[in-house]
């Protein structure tokens, strides 16, 4: 718990830093900070993990073990169309659980999911999966992450 609040505060400040109106910053910067973090972090988290058989196994690892370690809860739903599209649903996403649900707050939601999009993309990238990760928040604190694997 105590480390969680520390990270949550840091995350909130990074969001503020990246979206400070004085600078030409945007969600992409925030996403990139997540990307480099995910890229490095996954190296550590997969150190004791046996080799992934295929893409599905890798995705499962990211959406179960990785999610659990970072977000302290299991995802509520994980689906795939078997054509490289994965949808992760978290009904109480860590960085949204303390934000009031409401249309005004909803406008701010993209700021609090961008880091995680990058984090997942970075982790997958280092595991050899090139992807596009987007997030969709329809009602706070629930969030859906769409992971589209670019198979070229």
């Amino acid at each position: 718990m105590s480390e969680e609040i520390l990270f949550d505060c840091l995350h909130a400040e990074i969001v503020n830093y990246c979206l400070d109106s004085n600078k030409e910053h945007d969600l992409a910067t925030l996403e990139y900070i997540g990307f480099t973090t995910g890229y490095r972090l996954i190296e550590r988290l997969t150190r004791e993990v046996s080799r992934f058989k295929d893409e599905l196994e890798t995705m499962k690892f990211i959406c179960t073990d990785f999610w659990m370690l970072i977000y302290k809860k299991q995802v509520d739903n994980l689906r795939t169309n078997n054509h490289g599209m994965y949808v992760v649903q978290d009904k109480a996403f860590r960085f949204l659980t303390r934000i009031s649900p409401g249309t005004k707050q909803l406008e701010h939601a993209p700021k609090f999911v961008a880091f995680t999009c990058g984090l997942v993309r970075g982790a997958l990238s280092n595991l050899g999966i090139n992807s596009t990760v987007t997030a969709e928040v329809q009602s706070i604190p629930a969030c859906k992450f769409h992971i589209e694997v670019n198979r070229n």
């Binding site: 490095r40 190296e43 150190r47 080799r51 050899g128």
Partner: protein, 138 residues
């Protein structure tokens, strides 16, 4: 203890290579390169199930003077260790230990925020630790 330790990137570009015997450097480099082909075969990266789920690949091949061992991380970075064939005292689990330590050192090195993934590993800290590993004093 070991003659040569190499870290090879995802794209097979060497990130780090060190040998204990400068005179044999070329030969050792050749062994490392040859080993990469064996690694590719063993892992069949991207083509169905790999032979083993273990990151440690064991002995890749041996020559008259050298034994070449391999290890591939989940992030497809390869570690190659070349040891003296005549060194019969060196047991399998000791080779495993070298890889395990090397893996630890590597992950720490890439976690340095100033290291750009894919670039060669120039960290002095990493180099010092690997030298120790190679001389068996780690």
């Amino acid at each position: 203890m070991a003659f040569c330790i190499a870290v090879i990137g995802k794209d097979n570009a060497p990130l780090y290579l060190t040998t204990s015997d400068m005179e044999q450097e070329l030969e050792l480099q050749y062994h490392v390169n040859a080993a990469l082909d064996v690694v590719e075969e063993k892992c069949l990266i991207g083509k169905g199930a790999p032979e083993s789920k273990e990151l440690y690949l064991g002995l890749l091949y041996s020559t008259e003077n050298h034994k070449i061992y391999g290890f591939v991380t989940n992030t497809r970075v390869k570690f190659i260790v070349v040891i003296d064939s005549s060194n019969v005292a060196l047991r399998e689990n000791e080779v495993r230990a070298i890889f395990r330590n090397l893996h630890l050192l590597y992950t720490d090195a890439i976690c340095n925020p100033f290291y750009i993934p894919g670039e060669s590993l120039t960290s002095k800290k990493f180099d010092r630790a690997v030298q120790k590993l190679m001389s068996g004093t780690a």
